[in-house]
């Protein structure tokens, strides 16, 4: 068993709006092996996302493993709709940072 951080396994870690009310987090792994290891370790799941972002699990809309792109994505309810008063990131493009610290346990 060894622990690595997500950026060591992924080439893309990003956040973006999925419409004005949802924020979607994409992790695209560098190869199939890394993707499968991350899926097997269930590194990105409702609980880890809720903990990383300090939100309720109910606000994690879904986790999808997308093998054609070696990608896992998580979608959460935006804390504010895009552009609402008090909002800080209209495009939702800078909400990915907590994922950079996520640790993956590899066999």
């Amino acid at each position: 068993m060894s622990k690595v951080k997500l950026p060591q396994l992924a080439t893309v870690i990003r956040s973006k709006n999925s419409g004005p009310y949802e924020l979607t987090l994409d992790v695209i792994f560098k190869d199939q092996e890394s993707y499968e290891a991350a899926c097997k370790a269930r590194v990105i799941n409702k609980t880890t996302i809720a903990e990383l972002y300090g939100i309720q699990e109910d606000d994690v809309i879904g986790i999808v493993e997308f093998s054609p792109a070696n990608a896992i994505k998580a979608t959460i309810v935006r804390p504010y709709p895009s552009g609402a008063l008090g909002e800080t990131d209209v495009y939702g493009a800078q909400q990915h940072a907590p994922l950079l610290d996520l640790e993956v346990e590899l066999n």
Binding site: P20, Y21, T24, I28, I61, V64, F66, T75, L85
Partner: protein
């Protein structure tokens, strides 16, 4: 082999593209040149205010090259979500640019125009008839919200674009359109598979973002066949890989396997991505599954006030250590000072260096910054009240006597004079719902005008 080639010059009309890439695309003899001109991504302001988020001169430049190529080669040119949001004001803004170009270049062609703005009365009637449903997690709609909306648009499907192409338009300017509609309509008319055509449109609509290195300001070519499609960049410095193309399928979407759109869903559970050659990727197996009833996505924005902001910095460690209590004290002072007038306002201090980007989603305990950026944001029912609140919050914070203060000359560093900026009207998205329709075309009336003869 039966083929339908579609040239997508750029991710958004006005984002530009290299002429070399565009020429390489034209050399491939495309059957269609299409471009998406809009997005909800820049936020609710542009829909609410009826203005474009792309620049007029940049849009004109892209259109001149595209329409010139279309006219010279007799290829239809289709533009979706005119003016960035596709409401009537945006459509007319974009139409004026095309007519100006036609006059300058002495172009004479049939121009199809498709309207996508819906009247509030119509939406209200449909709402009362239970034909509108929310899209989770958007809140439920009310009659009051519909009445308060500044503009409402519906996202047209390929059918509305097909209808105007069938009438003989050589250039089509469409209001708010589901992004793949403008790329797929003519291919569906030519008898190609709808699922493949729409999936190809979904990848083409962002230009070369689906390539490596990705770019929103470069061209992508899609070649649709009977049982697959192939996408490839036209700039020799880029290539499409199975991962770059598949990854684009999940961009900005909640579930990359099931992509809902007008009239049905794109089902990608059986889709395969195969490297065709070192630059091109072949995609097969995408299916369009019609839904029982045809739905159109509605978008609306309402005005919530007027904004004034002030930007400042703070370098004093004694102040930085107690910034939260200072902000609250300033907020209280503002409230107390104007209580006799009953002003309604929203006052927000966005503190960069302390959760300014992530707010409540920020997992790091903050407080380590040696300097802070302070944006004072006041929104009120009039610009005058927003100015008053922002100005008073700014002067109060500048001179606020917090415990332990030694820097008595002022608490804030202003980079600008004047320090306060009037940002004008502020809008919120308030409609993001589905409308059930009997006919996907009648909602989007179209007309054809002959350029050069419009008077």
């Amino acid at each position: 082999m039966k083929e339908y080639r579609v040239l997508s010059p750029t991710a958004i009309l006005g984002y530009g593209f290299p002429e070399e890439s565009f020429k390489a695309g034209l050399d491939r003899k495309p059957h269609l040149i299409a471009v998406d001109a809009g997005s909800t991504d820049p936020g609710p302001y542009y829909l609410g205010a009826g203005v474009s988020f792309t620049d007029r001169a940049a849009v004109k430049r892209d259109l001149e090259l595209m329409i010139e190529a279309g006219i010279e080669r007799d290829i239809p040119v289709v533009i979706g979500t005119a003016g960035g949001c596709g409401a009537e004001a945006h459509l007319q803004w974009n139409l004026e640019i095309i007519l100006e170009l036609a006059k300058e270049r002495k172009w004479n062609f049939p121009l199809g125009i498709i309207h996508a703005e819906l009247s509030k009365n119509f939406v209200l009637e449909e709402f009362k008839a239970n034909k509108i449903s929310p899209l989770h997690p958007a809140p439920d709609l009310t009659e009051e919200e519909i009445i308060a909306t500044e503009r409402i648009v519906g996202q047209m499907g390929p059918e509305a674009v097909m209808a105007v192409l069938e009438k003989g338009a050589k250039v089509v300017l469409a209001g708010r359109a589901y992004d793949p509609s403008v790329f797929s309509a003519s291919a569906i008319m030519a008898g190609f598979d709808k699922g493949l055509a729409i999936h190809m449109g979904k990848i083409l609509e962002c230009g070369a973002i689906a390539a490596l290195p990705g770019s929103g300001s470069d061209c992508l070519l899609g070649t649709l066949r009977e049982d697959c499609f192939i996408v490839e960049p036209l700039n020799p410095n880029r290539c499409c890989t199975t991962t770059s193309v598949a990854a684009h399928t999940l961009y900005e979407k909640t579930n990359p396997y099931i992509l809902p759109g007008p009239g049905g869903v794109l089902d990608l559970r059986g889709t395969t991505f195969i490297q065709e050659n070192e630059k091109a990727v072949r995609v097969a197996g995408s299916k369009f599954v019609p839904s029982e009833s045809y739905t159109i996505k509605l978008e609306g924005a309402k005005r919530v006030g007027f904004r004034t902001v002030s930007i400042a910095g703070c370098r004093d460690p004694i102040m930085i250590g107690q910034i939260d209590t200072i902000v609250e004290a300033v907020r209280e002072r503002v409230k107390d000072n104007f209580k006799r007038y009953g002003y309604e306002y929203f006052l927000h201090f966005n503190i960069y260096g302390k959760n300014g980007v992530m707010g409540n989603l920020e997992p790091l305990a903050s407080g380590a910054s040696h300097e802070l950026g302070v944006v004072i944001d006041a929104v009120a029912e009039t610009q005058e009240i927003a100015n008053t609140i922002c100005s008073f919050a700014r002067s109060t914070m500048l001179h606020y006597g917090y415990p332990g203060r030694v820097a008595t000359a002022g608490n804030l560093a202003f980079p600008y004079s004047p320090s306060d900026f009037k940002a004008g009207a502020v809008y919120n998205f308030n409609i993001y719902h589905l409308l059930y329709v009997d006919n996907p075309v009648t909602l989007f009336p179209s007309e054809i005008i002959q350029t050069g003869e419009e008077g």
